[in-house]
């Protein structure tokens, strides 16, 4: 009994030092279950292929250069779209957060257009811009901008008014206040908005690629569906999940925690 406890205790200490292990270990039983279910062919292999097949497909597609190219396409689109979304969203959010009039005029419109959702824009975008990069970028910008703006507004508004006053009484001009007080003060919320926005943007990208794409991971999945091949679909889903998991847990979340914690603001 004590040996079991000692092993468990070693595991606890290990995961305390490297928390990433704790996020990987739970997938092991899932993976094992997948392996067993497909090895026993509980569902026809056509419907649910096993890890071996998926791996082989991964290797083949990487070797042929298709997967890296699609991955690159997807990521580039996301980066461009997110970049524009942030560049437009943060100033807009600051404006709305700081000006009552801007808020009254724009907030209802923001809510409505957010409600329409990015996907619903695809048909008309295709009419206007065809199937190219512009359509994709628009969709991603559209999706990213709302969480960024909303969170920026929240961040700007949650700066205590006394901070503004303190800056004014120390002789800061309006412009300086914007740069020295508002931006840093809202930063933790902005980063949260970024993180959410990227999450939605990623999903929007996949949706756009599935519906109107000509390359990319989403397209890979939809094309495979047309060919009736579940293997690439599963591969695509796994890649999507892992990629986002990596980006979110190891890049975005730490940034968010660092800004928030360092300045003792914002709790998630």
């Amino acid at each position: 009994m004590t040996t079991l406890l000692k092993i468990w205790s070693a595991y606890v200490r290990l995961t305390a030092r490297w928390p990433s292990i704790a996020s990987i270990v739970p997938f092991i039983p899932l993976f094992a279950a997948w392996w067993i279910v497909t090895a026993l062919e509980i569902f026809p292999l056509v419907f649910l292929p096993g890890p071996g097949e998926v791996w082989r497909s991964f290797v083949a597609l990487t070797w042929k250069g298709i997967l890296p190219e699609y991955l690159q396409d997807s990521i580039v689109r996301l980066a461009v779209g997110a970049g524009w979304g942030i560049a437009l969203g943060i100033p807009l959010g600051i404006l709305i957060g700081m000006s009552r009039r801007a808020h009254a005029a724009l907030w209802p419109l923001l809510l409505f257009f957010q409600a329409i959702g990015d996907i619903a824009w695809l048909p008309i975008l295709v009419i206007w811009f065809g199937y190219g990069l512009v359509t994709m970028t628009f969709v991603i910008v559209y999706t990213v901008i709302f969480p960024v703006v909303l969170n920026t507004v929240l961040g700007v508004r949650s700066i205590p008014v006394n901070m503004h006053r303190a800056a004014l009484s120390l002789g800061a001009s309006r412009a300086r206040i914007l740069w020295e007080v508002v931006l840093p003060g809202a930063l933790p919320n902005i980063v949260t908005g970024l993180r959410n926005g990227l999450g939605y943007g990623w999903r929007a990208l996949i949706a756009a690629e599935i519906i109107v794409g000509t390359s990319g991971i989403g397209f890979l999945m939809f094309d495979a569906r047309r060919a009736g091949s579940v293997v690439e679909i599963l591969l695509g889903m796994i890649i999507l999940g892992i990629l986002w998991y990596i980006v979110d847990s190891w890049i975005l979340a730490p940034i968010e925690r660092a800004t928030g914690q360092r300045w003792g603001l914002v709790h998630r």
Binding site: T2, R13, A16
Partner: protein
């Protein structure tokens, strides 16, 4: 109200980080008569909360036995009511519903249990707060609700785990006096855990000084009741008793 007997109680557990066995409580024995008020005092980590959690049934016992009214205990139950340091009120229920919770678990009808709850709220002078939600109340008021919630269920033993530690000093003194007044009226058997020596002596009939999981000494508090802070502040006997307990607790 029933008596409480603890015989050779001990608790060891396995520390996952240190990978060793740790003894939190060692061979503690205690007899508490029905209607008696006993305080257990000791520094942080001396095992007093562990003892309370074992009596309450939240934590399994690894040695010895606990008897309430002569019968051994097994897991949590309504015979041992608990008042928590963090109040642990149900935030989604009103004050009245919180106090009526125990009777509700016993299957008592709505009208009847609300009557009971109102009685206990009146005893603590909390009647106006009946329809409020816990988050609308101050810490002191919340804890009074916590005490009445436990009492309204008429447990055989009342266990109080540093109940006034999360409350400011002045409110604490008021609450301590309130507690003695309510206790005088209902005379439950009480085990009161605290690290505040003065509080322990003020409230109890008997003080148990605990350190490193062991009982150091039991000290009878022969101060007359009812007790008030105004009277006892300068009282020589009070000072002598607190001095003795403090000495015990600090030297260990």
């Amino acid at each position: 109200m029933k008596s409480l007997t603890i015989r050779n109680l001990s608790k060891t557990y396995f520390d996952l980080y240190a990978a060793t066995h740790v003894t939190a409580v060692q061979d503690v024995s205690l007899e508490v008569g029905a209607g008696e008020f006993v305080s257990i005092v000791g520094p942080s980590g001396c095992g007093k909360s562990t003892i309370l959690n074992m009596i309450a049934g939240f934590v399994p016992v690894t040695g010895g036995e606990i008897l309430v009214g002569g019968k051994p205990v097994n897991g949590p139950g309504r015979d041992r009511g608990v008042v928590f340091q963090s109040f642990a009120l149900f935030p989604w229920r009103t004050v009245l519903e919180n106090v009526a919770f125990g009777p509700k678990m016993r299957g008592i009808g709505k009208a009847e249990r609300e009557k009971i709850a109102h009685e206990y709220l009146a005893l603590a002078r909390l009647t106006e707060a009946a329809e409020r939600y816990p988050n609308e109340l101050s810490g002191g008021m919340q804890q009074r609700v916590g005490v009445m919630r436990a009492l309204a269920n008429e447990p055989d033993v009342l266990l109080m785990d540093e109940p006034f530690a999360s409350v400011d000093a002045q409110t604490r003194m008021t609450l301590q006096e309130e507690l003695t007044r309510i206790w005088q009226a209902k005379k439950p058997t009480v085990i009161f855990i605290t690290h505040d020596v003065a509080e322990a002596v003020f409230l109890a009939d008997r003080v148990i000084a605990l350190s490193k999981g062991r009982v150091l000494e039991e000290i009878a508090v022969d101060l007359p009741r009812p007790r008030s802070w105004d009277a006892l502040h300068e009282d020589a006997r009070f000072k002598a008793l607190t001095g003795r307990v403090l000495q015990l607790v600090r030297q260990a």
